[in-house]
Subunit: 460 residues, 2 copies
């Protein structure tokens, strides 16, 4: 670029901060506005953010900009799901193969690392407690409010990217323009965070190298490890309903009954369970989709602002990180022609934003219900065996999403074809005995060949 | 009611005005706020509103409140679709049976009648040029702006109903609350109105008792008669695209080519076609869905504010009229207990709002494309014959929607079952010859019996 160009970013969460680093390193003069105070110097909010799990797509986006190693030092590998049955029995289901893992990390810590890194780029300025109010697309102006003084001001913007989350101010201004498609859809479940402190010996109260799940059909509890040897547990439960629901669990006695019946091994791990349950907020879960994500070669949405998803595939923030990497690649390919780069970014990412939203909704049912059924566990065993026998030709859906860089939309498409095939194999007479014998190989060959022919037929 | 209760209505379009009459006649003190000037005393906007067609559901809602006869005097019956082929050939497809018709009426005239009627109710107050800004659900307050003075004020509301259209201010305030589902989706087509004046003899330039359609696949022109012997034509065409699109038709030469090729019989009817085309705005078409429609036993959305639909089934406003009738019935059944009445209103109407939105989208394809195919016309012939032979047991989808009071959702459900049956009959060897012979009766019996068993199985 002959002249240094200016880019304004809304939102200093993980995605906005990472994007600031990407653009700063490309040579842009970046100004970032964040509504909340600087979490590097102040204790901000909290209690409402589900723990994060970083996986391959996230690491790649962090590596490209040179921050992966710093982040990795604060992360705890989780190699599978640890299912807690009603009777306390534990079953470990590995996520991947050969030690593949997803990495638990605190959202706040990750955000601090990313802000520090962005602030070290030569031409990146970070401004906090600056709330975006609206954007004027005719005048190319942004209206801001200083959260400390309440003062409002209008600034000119050359290029503006909204990384300002599920309730994005940029998207809201875009939504009010003609021909902007938009949807916000809430699931009927809410969530509540509960902290599990370290055990009496100061060590983790549960195995730290697993994501713990208490699947109970209509509701579930999960727990992820923190670097300080505590766990953050999250209860997902319907807001309303006659059985287990937030409306029903209205007093300490009802809470005690719920945990005694459904999560009997948990109360011993959380001394102040009643207090936490009734003090912590119950939050809702939204899926947001919209189109277009870009306009006028100057404006773009990224991360949750473009595609807020429910947290059940652990890919929400990671999809935003991948957006940053792809946008950077589009800028490279277009020689920093923004109109061209933004158009390419949108056509590359919009189908994947939709796909990860759908995958996350599907996975909620898997996590809270299917995961505990014998049929599900058999299909997982078949998947693993197929991958073991034909590693180049068959990869389970979870691995395509979590341990590959295949576009989400393609992963979902293949996953749908695989699901029918797995159902058919699982219904075969005597499959459980056959699975580990040599006789399974021709079956596997046949099933995967069929899959390949269907997949190539569909993609034509 | 022992004490007169107050209801505030936002929006003085046809639905808001009709609702004011319904509630006024129930004994409520009604205050209605409309953003635009009073169209009874001033010429307001125009040029952008597609002509309306009133049909049975609309008439029933108007009859209940005693305004149907007044409106009917301004309406022109249209007994079918008149298809204009590319070569100018005309084909008339009747809408119903035995002279059933839909009635063309000007939106402005209808709105004037309804405002006049509402203003004559003893306890109804109408306020114009009052724009609703937002609603505070904690304080039960409405924020208004006087469009003449720009002055803003806050008023208390006991009960508030938003009849304020596709971009409803009440709905916008509801959307910002937690757990409100919402979507706005635009079709890729826009529309433009073109006036067809009376012919040189002062009479209608086309047959006034038909809805004229020039179906051309990806785009279409329609025309509806007006009381002053003019027609209002509306061109529906994609915004973008290489062939016929608003982007492509950018100058007089391109416009002339489009009409010469596609609507050859039209330019003779519109002397100032070029002027009109480039002066009149191109408007977009949105479908809005949301949930819930009601809250706190005090707030409700009605008409387009709850369910804006595309205009292709001619049921948009009529669905809003039916909302008014059903809400009135719910109030009667609940003895004017609003919490109970609004809950009943929502569960009665929400599935029908979704269904008419889907039906309208489906009918766009039918109108612009299918209607001209031989297969479509054959299926229509089969439908008519089935109804003729078994009038109590078979009613075509269009008739269920237009000439019955069956809930839209039920009409759509039956229509989907019928579609498969019609496809099967249309594929029968020699069906065209068989249709009018006595031999068709056993086939008809069999097909309808199968339909009935599927329908009752599904509804269980």
């Amino acid at each position: 670029m002959a002249i240094t160009q200016r880019v304004t970013i809304l939102g200093g969460g993980p995605v906005g901060a990472l994007l600031a680093s990407y653009l700063g390193r490309r040579g842009y003069h970046v100004t970032l506005y964040e509504r909340r105070p600087d979490l590097r110097s102040q204790d901000v909010g909290g209690g409402r953010s589900i723990n994060l799990a970083c996986s391959d797509r996230g690491w790649l986006a962090l590596e490209r900009v040179g921050i992966a190693e710093t982040v990795r030092r604060s992360a705890i590998p989780m190699r599978g799901r640890m299912l807690h049955a009603e009777d306390g029995q534990l079953t470990f289901l590995p996520y991947g193969f050969d030690g593949q893992a997803i990495y638990a990390i605190s959202r706040t810590l990750l955000n601090k690392h990313l802000l520090d890194f962005a602030a070290r780029q030569p031409q990146v300025e970070l401004h906090f407690e600056q709330r975006a109010l609206s954007v004027d697309f005719q005048r190319h102006q942004l209206r801001l409010c200083d959260e400390r003084s309440g003062e409002r001001r209008t600034i000119d913007v050359d290029r503006l990217i909204g990384a300002d989350g599920a309730f994005s101010a940029l998207r809201e201004s875009m939504r009010r323009q003609d021909r902007f498609d938009y949807s916000q859809h809430y699931v009927s479940h809410g969530y509540k965070e509960l902290a599990i402190p370290p055990g009496p010996d100061g060590d983790f109260a549960l195995d730290p190298h697993a994501l713990h799940i208490w699947p109970r059909g209509g509701y579930m509890l999960i727990a992820l490890p923190n670097a300080d040897r505590s766990f953050t547990a999250t209860l997902f439960m319907p807001f309303e309903g006659a059985r287990a629901s937030f409306a029903e669990v209205a007093d300490a006695a009802a809470l005690e009954r719920l945990f005694a019946q459904s999560f009997a091994d948990v109360p011993a791990l959380i001394p102040n369970l009643t207090e936490q349950f009734f003090d912590n907020p119950t939050s809702s879960l939204v899926t947001v989709r919209c189109s277009p994500w870009v306009r006028d070669g100057r404006y773009a949405l990224i991360g949750d602002a473009a595609h807020a998803v429910v947290p059940f595939y652990g890919q929400g923030m990671i999809a935003g990180f991948e957006d940053c990497r792809v946008l950077d690649e589009c800028l490279t390919e277009a020689g920093d022609d923004w109109a061209q780069a933004l158009a390419a970014y949108q056509s590359a990412r919009k189908p994947n934003g939709d796909a990860i939203a759908d995958l996350a909704l599907d996975n909620f049912i898997e996590m809270r219900d299917l995961v505990r059924t014998p049929g599900f566990q058999l299909r997982r065993r078949i998947e693993r065996r197929l991958h073991q026998l034909l590693p180049q030709r068959f990869t389970p859906l979870y691995s395509m999403v979590t341990f590959s860089h295949l576009p989400y939309a393609e992963a979902r498409r293949r996953g749908q074809l695989q699901a029918a095939m797995l159902d058919a194999l699982a219904a075969e007479e005597g499959i459980e005995e056959l699975l580990d014998s040599e006789q399974f190989m021709p079956l596997a060959e046949q099933a995967v060949a069929k899959l390949e022919s269907m997949s190539s037929a569909r993609s034509k």
